[in-house]
Amino acid sequence: GAGVSQSPRYKVAKRGQDVALRCDPISGHVSLFWYQQALGQGPEFLTYFQNEAQLDKSGLPSDRFFAERPEGSVSTLKIQRTQQEDSAVYLCASSPYRGQGYEQYFGPGTRLTVT
């Protein structure tokens, strides 16, 4: 079946621009996670949804970052007024389990470059 998809795969933004990154999880998966992966590092947790409820946003680095999952399926990560330090790969993962972090299925990521 189809895996987790993300779009766009690559995004170049000028500093100060707003961007929106989309995640289509595996159909029926309850849990959805966003991670940020800087070059040479492992993914770092940003936020977690259980269905449409955002239960944890403790990893969002600033109030410029906003995520939503209004109907409990597709999710969007929005970054306002992008800064150079926002350049990273943004990974989305989904899981059929509620609030359990194991066996998350990752999408290919969106590589964001802020110039």
């Binding site: 987790v4 996670f33 991670y35 040479g40 590092q41 492992g42 993914p43 770092e44 947790f45 977690y48 259980q50 239960l55 944890d56 403790s58 990893g59 990974l91 993962a93 609030g99 359990q100 972090g101 194991y102 066996e103 998350q104 299925y105 990752f106 999408g107 290919p108 990521g109």
Partner: protein, 114 residues
């Protein structure tokens, strides 16, 4: 502070030999550990996991060992194959909290030489 550490950024192994990837953690609240494999331009793919109540889990060529007292785990790949060449991430899950998200190490690039 890095709660999950992979101190070897790279490892080269001859095809057919054993690959051993190491991971250390500091947070005693972690109760489940996973290894993910990542190819370039793809997302991480789940490989194998182990619960903190066990000390070994085996799946085909892959075995994960957990030493709770040392807060150390390792992934053994036997025999190593060129297709195993990838970045391997160790990850850990907290035993509490609503998200129980994964905390990742920085990865080890494994290269299996033919």
């Amino acid at each position: 502070d890095q709660q999950v550490k992979q101190n070897s950024p790279s490892l080269s192994v001859q095809e057919g030999r054993i690959s051993i990837l190491n991971c250390d953690y500091t947070n005693s609240m972690f109760d489940y550990f996973l290894w993910y494999k990542k190819y370039p331009a793809e997302g991480p793919t789940f490989l194998i996991s182990i619960s903190s109540i066990k000390d070994k889990n085996e799946d085909g060529r892959f075995t994960v060992f957990l030493n709770k007292s040392a807060k150390h785990l390792s992934l053994h790949i036997v025999p190593s194959q060129p297709g195993d060449s990838a970045v391997y991430f160790c990850a850990a899950r907290r035993s509490s909290g609503s998200a129980r998200q994964l905390t990742f190490g920085s990865g080890t690039q494994l290269t299996v030489l033919p």
